[in-house]
Symmetry: C3
Subunit: 315 residues, 3 copies
Amino acid sequence: MNLDPAVPVRWLAQFIGATLVGAEEQMATGLNEIHKVRNGDISFVDFEKYYEKCLHSAATIIIINKAVECPKGKTLLIHADPFSAYVKLIKHFRGFEPAMQMISPSATIGEGTHLQPNVFVGNHVQIGKNCLIHPNVTIYDHCIIGDNVIIHAGSVIGADAFYFKRRKECAVQYDKLESCGRVIIEDWVEIGACCTIDKGVSGDTILGKGTKLDNHIHIGHGAVIGKNCLFAAQVGIGGKAIIEDEVILWGQVGVSKDLTIGKGAVVYAQSGVPASIPGGKIYFGSPVEDAKTKMKELNWIKRIPELWQRMLEEK
Amino acid sequence: MNLDPAVPVRWLAQFIGATLVGAEEQMATGLNEIHKVRNGDISFVDFEKYYEKCLHSAATIIIINKAVECPKGKTLLIHADPFSAYVKLIKHFRGFEPAMQMISPSATIGEGTHLQPNVFVGNHVQIGKNCLIHPNVTIYDHCIIGDNVIIHAGSVIGADAFYFKRRKECAVQYDKLESCGRVIIEDWVEIGACCTIDKGVSGDTILGKGTKLDNHIHIGHGAVIGKNCLFAAQVGIGGKAIIEDEVILWGQVGVSKDLTIGKGAVVYAQSGVPASIPGGKIYFGSPVEDAKTKMKELNWIKRIPELWQRMLEEK
Amino acid sequence: MNLDPAVPVRWLAQFIGATLVGAEEQMATGLNEIHKVRNGDISFVDFEKYYEKCLHSAATIIIINKAVECPKGKTLLIHADPFSAYVKLIKHFRGFEPAMQMISPSATIGEGTHLQPNVFVGNHVQIGKNCLIHPNVTIYDHCIIGDNVIIHAGSVIGADAFYFKRRKECAVQYDKLESCGRVIIEDWVEIGACCTIDKGVSGDTILGKGTKLDNHIHIGHGAVIGKNCLFAAQVGIGGKAIIEDEVILWGQVGVSKDLTIGKGAVVYAQSGVPASIPGGKIYFGSPVEDAKTKMKELNWIKRIPELWQRMLEEK
């Protein structure tokens, strides 16, 4: 997320109770976890094995739990628990704002857009022109919806990222990373009934122009779905997955997090995609393989008894 | 869908801007896509390979993109883009009617039926006697629900068919086929929480008497589910599938579109049904096979290392 | 469920029209199906093969369809249709109470808890402190929610168990077992969007402290989920499953009913768990196996053509 107006690092150090090391006059212009950092951003790191990655990322201000050497031009904020310090900042800059009514007065809704009864529209939501939102849809704060979008009943846009830090020593092991990203739905997208599109942890979850989702589809936090994709019912997409344009996923396909499905790939029903796959091909299986290869394997399995029989006869 | 009162073909030709060929005095009594056509219906065809099928179907009035010879007794409406012309007709005869309140004044609700708070009941919906509809259920326009039906919270009855025409040349590739079918839920059906039953494209999606659905179930457009079926949670049924009476589907089963599952079939959890299967049998696997055959295959796979070993020893 | 105040067996016999055999002065203190019975409970049995199990269970009062010998200290209620008699009792002691408003006046809601607009809170629901319940959530009667719980939009807590008795002779084959159990959600649980947690048939469905659920998750009736579990999106858990502490289930995993997953088990995406599995291990496949074993099997399958080729060469 962006910080506007920008925030001085001295204020940040004081607010989270950190020791400031390095450039003291910087201004933070954004707040992002390591996967999404840009210049001017605050980020955090608490595992020694990720120190190098974070210190040499685009992030300008780094909350870190060790007094390492500060890279030139950056600011370190030394804090015993960077995760909690980072969450404190998110809660400050994008804290939960209770809703007082079904449609927030801070939301903007374009001309020609029709909301059926009982649509919840959160604070700062922007909805474009000529959209149709069916009953019992929930749109969380800060989501952005383009023009000519259709959302069917019961769908939930912008729920929290499913992202927790494990604290081994605690009775409650999982510590919630508050999410401050948004969902952006481009023009001409159609979302079926009972779908869930989670917001990004700090970046945006995006559904590209003209993409169509059937019912019961889950899109994880920060996933970026291309243009003109077609997902059949009950597909699930993990966090930060990148699905390029014109990908077709048949029913109940599961896609893991942090991977890329290339442009125009087609994945048959119930397949599972555990890692990146190139575009322009047809896939099947869990884990997925080239569909033809998988079909051949299924046939080979049927021939095992024959193989066994022939071997016995060879004796 | 039916057209009542019937509509003269001359009016149709003028309304969509088509050239009328053949019988000029016909009256259209219905509007259906090719899978559901009856006598008196308007239908459309835009792919040359389906011309014959459509021209010799029960449809009386055919919107077509080529001046072919008109079969006796039928009327052709020649139009450069039959799909758009057909959608224009659907929008005219069953256009979206915005809801003004949670329960439409045009809905009828039978004696003894109880609606919990915040149930949305669309225009022209009919609900029978002694039903119980739990909170946050959405029932779209024109759905018909029998007697003694229970629908659990969050379910969505009658959302649009997931049906698009691909336009290769366009930035927005998928063109929506407006659906004008209905959902018909017969007596004694129970529908779990967060289920979605889509309406038919032009015909009806039907849940037969006494059928019980667990939670998170998806029933695609125009599917016809028989009587006394039992579907466990997270089952998905593709469009226009026919599931005969007394079929049992265990959790997370996926069923493809345009197929038939025979009476009394049992399909084990997580199986995938890609094509028609006969009734009275037990199935397992993705793609499904006879359950016992599949179990044997799983055992044979475990014996491959042994087979390999024995072959090496034979040398 | 408990009966408070306790109910004399003579009254029970009269109310359901049963013949009383055995101890005539007992008081019933609970009503439970056989899987959950405790001392003082009423239970029922209608299949001869379960007679012994029920007669020697902790149940004190047994509705049974045959005049068998009454175990010492127990009471039999002889009735031609024990299932219907039991359902009649449930309807009497925990009948459906129509809601008059979105938040029942009999619900209690703790300090610091915020309900977003349009949350349905049923009768006798208890919600603890500092919870956040997002829009369009439905909480059925009698559910109990601890402190610091987050429930995302569209989720449904406490819908009926999916539990039917088959009546072969009837046009409507499936007879509903009314459920009178509850859902208990312990402190620090987070439930994603569009999840469904069904109530127990007569006992409680429990989500243990600190457990986190992603979106579209189904938890069947009477399942008991341990502490600090992590379930990814679209996981489904069957009725009465026991999932011990710190179990991690990846996306789209399906778990059958009446089994136990041991503490700390990890099950990879799309796996199916048909029977109990020990804790502390990693699993994969449908049906699940040890993950490494399964991976090896997948590799062996790929070597079948090589095996075949070598066998041919041996000839």
